[in-house]
Symmetry: D2
Subunit: 371 residues, 4 copies
């Protein structure tokens, strides 16, 4: 089955295994005329790069992206953009022990169940390195969105029980701490918590949040292609995500209509907006013009050093402790993945919307016809 | 944009507005040879029918489904199955007041922002009646799954703050109370809560859960078409859903790797299974053979009788109270929608998986070739 | 497998069997704001209706189309348009003899080979009645194209050996003869030829041509989604088509570069055009602004009264002569099918093209963003 | 718009410009367990390589393919297969003259009309080098088909007026002459014809044919996804193709039902076959088990040395003669492109068909369920 493409009009196909020759992505459907250079993409890849703090693996991966097609004279041409990152520093030997065992919390068993065998080196296709293609492609999507005045900001909202409270949320702090939390104090507390877990060869889950500003109203669809449904799929396609929320999320289950409904009003500029934003910027599957707020709960890193029971391929019980360096939390490296996956979903929704109305189409085609 | 289709191989397209002539669905890609009658589908439609209790609207809609194509001699033929339900008892006049105002929590404004105008009668395409097509098609998917031994059971887990605790969860109780809760005691408490809210012209949110048993291991994809990602999109495409979870869901954010990892073991029948199921039956985007557990948080019914501030189409501030009978909770009628949307996602995943391995394909095509 | 949908953005799904309850189509992705009434569609359906001349079957089928959704206050709303035509005058008994035999030139055997059994009544899904859904949906596409100044005209170019020569081709004659030929003289000759064949219980092939004017330059894609490739698929998906050509078609195989290349020049209005149009209005998969000319060769009606050898389902040799009235030529009724299938392909290409350039997208989204 | 992908289940995305860094393809949906090495693919690429005779350009392109992902221990893993061919010997300077002019018969003008500008180097995305990705991916499809006993053989049937007659068609001769014609005598005559044209700085069109053996009956769909419709799109997506035929092709337009219908009979092995094959192996959109015969008319190479009138980007009339070496015929290099594009269409059709029947699906999933 073909499961490595995302999007209908702005379509991304990723490829590559953790310890194969390279990983990459092909973007098909990027409009012509977008200024684009490798540096635009590298900036995003560097945000997911390990080795930036002691909470992320210290391998020195350069992950330098190369644009192989689709860009000419500094601008996209409308043809497919092929992005490749060659794998270096592969240490294949380090992973030989996982060839025959089914690690708890990993895709080893399900991969074998589906395909009969797997490229076990470094987790193969199920490795976090698979996200390089997404981030590279999503960086291009984010650049397109910026041209329309749409911005995305993702950050770590929680590490285990340590959550940044609304009252202290400060987006300017996100780049000031290694956990990408929008509050340095919570980040400091979370850091201590992680230090303790690392000593115990343990790991922690957490929450990533993303806020999107500048999305025009009316983007998305009424039924299956709801904007929130596609954001949900986009974010849930990231390994380790176990919950996705829009706006107030799970809390709506305990709310009442009187508290949860957001009143509309017209602001001083004559624009329609809402007095509150419990809805998270999406109503009936379509953006309402207010900020879109989404949230993903991320499970603890399954690769832990502590001893765990499991089985090998011969179905025999064994005990394993995962060797090597592993991040005690997934969030710091996944923040940019959530942000870029959201960018992919939004870009495709904008492009699909271009043919929603006859009057818009007439603006495009009304005068182009040779009589 | 085309947003009313779901699925790649088992593809469903729904159509129809609340107060148009009819609503329906076309299933394209149903395999030949499935015994199918209208009664198989009607059974599911009746579960979403209003008028069954005082917590659901008392309109007497018969919602009788008609199969117009794709079935011959009691079996599906492999060609598209067209399912139609004619709208009756439309009371168009009752809804005339919503033509010019933007109801809080509804898609009135976003629809206008997207398309410039809308069929406002009864909510038009954004009405709950749109789900008739989904449920009708999902009933066929559920029947296919049953042929492979796969079953789905959805129920209301919470109404506002009233949640069925694990210790009292009893699936046999689901059909014993009007709220479809798997515990009659919690249902009774929730009922009292709803009675109070109804007096206040208010409404409540809640949680729907669905458990899927019998799914073989290895179904789903490693990257964008992860089984959980598609279940998430399927469920998030239902209006009012604001959160989706698999397995432990949001709780994983506070867990550690040692508590969250599920150990594999081989059971007495030689089958691979897990000692716990925090993962909810999906690892790396593929089913692991254990029960799949999913959960959706549903917002309170936005149509409430209490006075609310909003604006009309001319952007003037107004105050409205939604007239007419409205369910104080969405869950009882949405339970079957969650179940059937999950059935659609699972069926498509199974069919996509049919070409995952050369050895499977050789079983199908190995001997069919004319030499 | 799902094979009854056409298009990516303007997506049509057809359903229905010849002698089932009804046939129809769902259009998903029709832009909002197109004036549309049943009469707009009926006009096209009437062109494919039998009983108009002695060369088409004389059954009195009314084939009245009903719009069940997606239109409000006389305009499309952007939601799916469901179109239904109920089957009448079914004469199921007439077709009982084809239940057990494999008619030469028909899909009886291949249908059984694929699905194991078939709805044999009147050819089931492989009947010409399946095209009702296409024509109904294509009528909507043609109406959209007209709003942009794009027109399509299809006609019968040849009946057997009788071909309208270039020198006598007159589009105004198309509606003047029962064969829809753009020359009454050739039509008269062809009519005599068909009279002879009918006496012999035989049938004839022929050629349908379609000319499209007003298509702006630059529509279509460079690689797989070439405009000619999609037109080819659209037309080849009509039963009985065995050859498809663009421009000079097969004749290019005997041409040289010096004769086949079309020189560009700038016309008096400053528009780019070509001195000749061997290319048929498409270069490199994209429209060049000149008329698009396409051509389909149609096989002789396979249902003939003359005796033919074949086998039954038990693989025994039998001899059959197809009873009942059958058209001796397919072209008169297929002309509108070719025209509407081309309309579907062109409309989808136009919509896909809407996001081809950043400058176009900025016109749509540049000022819509709430700051 | 995204136009560089082909296929639904076995999905190929190509990328790359003639004089960019590289060209390539990503195959998503290749089943796991297919033995695959670069040599399997290189063999096909070498068939489209120039420099093999004086009728193909003499540039020494090595076009060495590299598999970057999706293969492990010599077998496909089920994950995307990334195939890359780096561009060498680019001679960018040679093409600088085409930057500002619109060559007759080329996509220069239509590309500018669509995207506003283009990568003009060597034809950019519209160059014949774009087919490298198709051929590389199609080689994998052909290998899959061979595992099921299905073979494809393409060849040059005509060069200008020189056509191999049925009576002398000998497939074993195809590799014996530089034109890949199945008759050395016709090839010799065609060679003389081409020599004359080359002296005149002219070029010739021709016909490519492909015969497919071993396809099981019942593959393809009844309506839009007819096997012939998809083969038509596949072949028409190759630049320079202006006509596509199945079986008797255009000749059916002059045939009668009595001569064109193929009688079914049961052969000595109890298999259903046809006494003749005017249908070319496809009935009602589905394969009938007999050989599939398809044919494409290819236009003369548009790049000719002789002087031609055209315009430049400023719409001024100019006269050009295309410099550099150009093949006087496209067929020899396009034969393998037709063959591999057909392989892609057939493979996808086979995979889509895997879920056509409940009984087939029960063979796959019937016993895999954990009770």
């Amino acid at each position: 089955m073909a499961g490595s493409s995302f999007g209908t009009i702005f379509k991304v196909t990723t490829w590559g295994e953790s310890h194969g020759k390279a990983v990459g992505a092909v973007i098909d459907g990027c409009p012509a005329g977008l200024p684009l250079a490798e540096a635009d993409i590298q900036k995003y890849l560097d945000r997911r790069r390990p080795g930036q703090s002691k909470y992320t693996t210290s391998r020195q991966e350069s992950d330098a992206v190369e644009i192989l097609s689709g860009v000419f004279d500094g601008k996209t041409t409308g043809t497919p953009i092929s992005l490749t990152v060659y794998n270096k520093d592969q240490h294949s030997k380090d992973y030989s022990d996982i060839a025959s065992c089914y690690r708890p919390g990993h895709a080893d068993y399900t991969f074998d169940a589906k395909y009969g065998f797997r490229d076990y080196r470094g987790g193969g296709r199920s490795s976090g390195r698979e996200t390089i293609g997404r981030v590279a492609a999503g960086a291009v999507a984010a650049k397109i969105l910026m041209e329309f005045g749409i911005t995305l900001t993702a950050y770590t909202r929680s590490v285990g029980p340590y959550t940044v409270p609304d009252s202290r949320l400060d987006l300017s702090a996100v780049t000031e701490n290694a956990l990408f939390m929008p509050d340095n104090q919570t980040a400091a507390e979370a850091t201590e918590y992680l230090n303790t877990l690392m000593k115990e060869k343990n790991s922690s889950g957490g929450v990533i949040e993303c806020i999107i500003k500048g999305m025009p109203a009316g983007i998305g669809d009424t039924v299956f292609e709801k904007l929130d449904a596609n954001l949900s799929k986009a974010v849930f396609s990231i390994g380790a995500v176990k919950s996705f929320e829009i706006g107030d999320g799970f809390a709506v289950s305990r709310a009442t209509g009187q508290t949860n409904n957001d009143s509309f009003f017209t602001d001083e500029n004559g624009r329609i907006t809402k007095a509150s934003n419990h809805a998270g910027g999406i109503l009936g599957g379509m953006s309402d013009g207010d900020p879109i707020l989404l949230r993903a709960a991320v499970k603890p890193t399954p690769s832990i050093g502590a001893a765990q029971k499991t089985i090998n391929k011969d179905r025999e019980s064994i005990e394993i402790g995962i060797k090597g360096r592993h991040d005690p939390v997934i969030m710091p490296r996944a923040v940019v993945v959530v942000e870029t996956m959201a960018a992919l979903a939004l870009t495709d929704a904008l492009f699909l919307n271009a043919s929603a109305r006859m009057d818009t189409l007439k603006k495009i085609y009304g005068n182009s016809v040779k009589k």
